[in-house]
Symmetry: C2
Subunit: 227 residues, 2 copies
């Protein structure tokens, strides 16, 4: 190889798939099925396939589906990491995404998947620990002023259940009155006619779902929760 | 070429260099010196050079310096754009950055540069218009809760001058009392001993500068301006 000839830059995507388990953010890791780092738990990731991917996000959706069986939850670009040292195969660019999924949509018996608490991760290959940290930080910040946490909820939930999800993501209690006002302002929920669930002390609580137009996107607050 | 062989993915960086001119955000465009789009104004951009760049940000700093003469102002990753159609040369990934620079640091007589209002752009090649829109939106949102606009100021400024810069970026007036409280909270300014400037009605106004630790980074507000 001539001194001024270099192999192509490696172009990949990585996805931080987050869910809520035991009231804490967890990351879905995939046991690597090839070198480098064969057998290690890692973020679901893979090469961009220019013959089939319309863009990097399309590649992320494909990789997530192929490696975890999860189709199109909420998914957003997080950051792009690059350099000569992050991948032992050579100079690489990885476009990282994060995705949220309700716990009940995760496959229960997938031998190649591991569910790990986001704040107690095992050793991860590449710069995957850094990517998870970026994702958790982004999700926390964004949850203060948006409907993001609803993407961790199942299809139907009560307001107290939704508040618990927000509190688990934010890592702090939320004032109930202020929370309900902010949910009104987000205007992303609709009550399910006639559907009630027995809540605390057997008092029936209204069930809600996310309005269709916000099922794959976000509603934003003018000012954050707590203000 | 065999049907399953593809040329390497094109890896580039693009930089949205923003400044304040006539109280409005402007973009510094560079007249392209090669095909495609030879001679058109475009974002300063170029290939990632794996032999010399430590990462994509390093490439962005290099490209900005080589094409505009601007060295290391505030620079932050914005988004990564990708796909088969955005660059006529083939499937490409561009890591986009935005940078802020005080007007007075721009070269005054650079024949290859054009200063254009961010909201009245000429036709731009590639998806550069979209990248500028993303950058302007990011800067506006971030200016609500951070020290970002100081990177548009010169080395010394009065508080009324800084408030004008915030107002120009946000596109709305800011309450003076609340603004001063927020600047105190950001704790990023220090008065310059004995340096005053004659302000309105010839009343002397204190000159400030950004504290050393915030000259290349941000200080963040707990709650945004206006709350």
């Amino acid at each position: 190889m001539a001194v001024d000839t270099f192999p192509p830059i490696i172009c990949t995507v990585d996805v931080v798939l987050l869910t809520l388990h035991d009231d804490a953010l967890h990351v879905v890791l995939h046991l690597r099925d090839r070198e480098p780092f064969l057998g290690m738990p890692a973020l679901p990731g893979g090469y961009v396939h220019q013959q089939e991917d319309r863009d990097a996000e399309d590649a992320a959706v494909r990789v997530l589906r192929d490696k975890t069986g999860i189709a199109s939850p909420y998914l957003e670009q997080l950051a792009t990491l690059s350099g000569p040292a992050r991948d032992p195969r050579g100079w690489s660019i990885s476009v990282a995404y994060y995705a949220l999924v309700p716990r009940q949509l995760l496959p229960v018996d997938a031998a190649q998947l591991r569910l790990m608490p986001a704040d107690r991760l095992p050793a991860l290959p590449f710069d995957h620990r850094r990517i998870v940290e970026l994702a958790v930080s982004r999700v926390r910040v964004k949850s203060h002023y948006s409907s993001l946490p609803v993407h961790l909820c199942g299809e139907r939930f009560t307001l107290p259940q939704l508040q618990s999800v927000y509190e688990a993501v934010l890592g702090e209690p939320v004032n109930k009155v202020s929370f309900r006002r902010k949910m009104d302002e987000l205007a992303m929920l609709e009550p399910i006619d006639g559907e009630l669930e027995l809540g605390r002390a057997n008092r029936p609580a209204q069930l809600y779902r996310v309005r269709r137009e916000f099922r794959r996107t976000l509603s934003l607050l003018e000012r954050g929760l707590g203000s």
